[in-house]
């Protein structure tokens, strides 16, 4: 392989995402611009939200977001928080990312009543009234005057399937 050709992803270290697809060196790696555009287009989370953050890949397709910047690659055990699973047809935000930044979402947020929210937190699927897009939605619950995100649900065929991981179910 020449110095200029694509290189493989090294799964066990943190590499900063390239700013744009044109700057990509690692095969299959998404660009920062694609991540920020996805969050804007899918959920309406403004790109400026992440003006002071950088995005990193560690593990195949697992994207992390951290405040500030570091030399890349950086040999640490954790960098900010996981935010997104890429390298698959439909990207999926993490529960923790949605709880942190999902209150800034302006679309694809399904607000659940307390009974439905409780069911959502068990990891079950349930029928919901939703006439928006299919795919991954922010599952939220109305409290103290505004929707508060709980996690991610996959909406298809009138059903919302909770993606809340085992360790966060209740």
């Amino acid at each position: 392989m020449s110095d200029d050709g694509p290189v493989e992803n090294v799964g066990d270290r943190f590499d900063r995402l390239p700013a744009t697809p044109d700057e990509r060196r690692v095969a299959g790696r998404v660009a920062r611009s694609a991540v920020v555009d996805y969050l804007d287009e899918r959920f309406g989370i403004a790109p400026e939200t992440f003006a002071d953050h950088t995005f990193w890949e560690k593990g195949a397709g697992k994207i992390w977001v951290v405040y500030g910047d570091y030399p890349s690659p950086v040999e640490v055990e954790g960098l900010g928080m996981t935010c997104l699973r890429t390298r698959q047809e439909f990207w999926k935000p993490t529960t923790d990312f949605v709880q942190r930044f999902g209150s800034r979402a302006t679309r694809n947020v399904v607000v659940l009543g307390d009974d439905a929210a409780a069911r959502f937190m068990t990891g079950d699927e349930q029928a919901v009234a939703w006439d928006g897009d299919w795919g991954y939605l922010v599952g939220a619950r109305e409290t103290a005057g505004a929707p508060a995100p709980l996690g991610v649900g996959l909406y298809t065929y009138g059903t919302l399937r909770s993606m809340v991981p085992k360790g966060r179910r209740r």
Binding site: Y67, V76, G78
Partner: protein
């Protein structure tokens, strides 16, 4: 021998001290201000009928008289973190500002490091380090659940910590909350007094001294280092400070604990030893003073 016997000469009211040590701890939580403000969280708790009281000396702490931390919707949203009241003291003593670089030397499971990040409005660098892989997993889990983006996790021996992964050469502040004999947690873990030995105290003191020395070295001149433990043992507290004051370029600064928190000063004499008078500026918290666990905390300035 019950190690608590040793400390009766240090406290103003030994009977109240012993009585408090034998009672269970009240349940407290810290509001995760990275995700939601304290007023909103209190309103949400009230809506779902969860009794809560604000802790007077700490704006982000709530007592839950009737429930466990994990029982509420507020917890499910990641708005609460179970944290003993007095363990919220060191991040306040550290007083980090947004944009600063902070080292949490022995950070797992991460309550105090994530608290520091929250006080920085989740802006800056909080390097949360621990040497144990098992404890790191708890640290990472907590940092993720709380949604902290300013935290970087490393696994290294704090005594010989290297800043090589980073592009900076010193931290602005360091939080040195060291492993200790933990007598101050007796209300939560009554076994600590049965497992206590002087040999263990002595080996811990050596480790604590080495970690604190490294923290002073890794902090820029004029930067702040907070040393804290949850033990009453002067060997692990003032004596450690005394040794580090003699070996490194630093001093203990006057620090006024938050209003409403009753405290005692550091001890300058113990078991026939006299310490540098500066250690009297440290803060001791005994369980009977505020109905909490026991704690020790000192604020140092590195360099000059």
């Amino acid at each position: 021998m019950n190690p608590l016997d040793r400390y009766e000469p240090l406290v103003d009211d030994p009977a109240a001290f012993r009585a408090a040590c034998s009672r269970p701890l009240p349940t407290t939580v810290r509001v995760n201000t990275v995700k939601a403000g304290v007023d909103r969280v209190c309103r949400a708790l009230a809506e779902e009928g969860v009794a809560h009281e604000r802790v007077g000396w700490a704006g982000d702490l709530l007592r839950l008289p009737d429930s466990s931390p994990g029982d509420s919707w507020a917890f499910a949203h990641g708005w609460l973190h179970g944290q003993e009241e007095v363990s919220a003291l060191p991040a306040r003593a550290l007083d980090p500002a947004p944009g600063e670089r902070v080292w949490a030397a022995c950070a797992a499971p991460g309550s105090k490091a994530t608290h520091a990040a929250a006080l920085m409005d989740d802006r800056g660098v909080v390097v949360a380090n621990d040497s144990s892989l098992g404890r790191l997993s708890a640290l990472r889990h907590n940092a993720e659940r709380l949604g902290v983006t300013a935290t970087t996790v490393t696994r290294a021996d704090a005594r010989s910590y290297s800043l090589a992964p980073f592009e900076f050469e010193a931290f602005d502040r360091a939080l040195v909350d060291v492993p200790c004999s933990c007598e101050g947690t007796v209300r939560k873990n009554p076994d600590v007094v049965d497992e206590w030995t002087m040999d263990h105290v002595e080996s811990l003191a050596e480790l604590q001294t080495d970690v604190l020395r490294r923290a002073v070295q890794a902090t820029r001149a004029g930067g702040t280092v907070v040393y804290s433990t949850c033990t009453f043992a002067p060997e692990e507290n003032e004596a450690v400070l005394d040794g580090v004051l003699a070996a490194e370029d630093c001093h203990v600064v006057e620090w006024t604990p938050p209003e409403g928190l009753e405290t005692s000063p550091g001890v300058t004499e113990w078991a026939g030893d006299e310490y540098d008078p500066q250690v009297g500026r440290a803060t001791r918290v005994y369980p009977h003073q505020n109905d909490t666990g026991g704690f020790f905390c000192a604020r140092l300035e590195a360099g000059g």
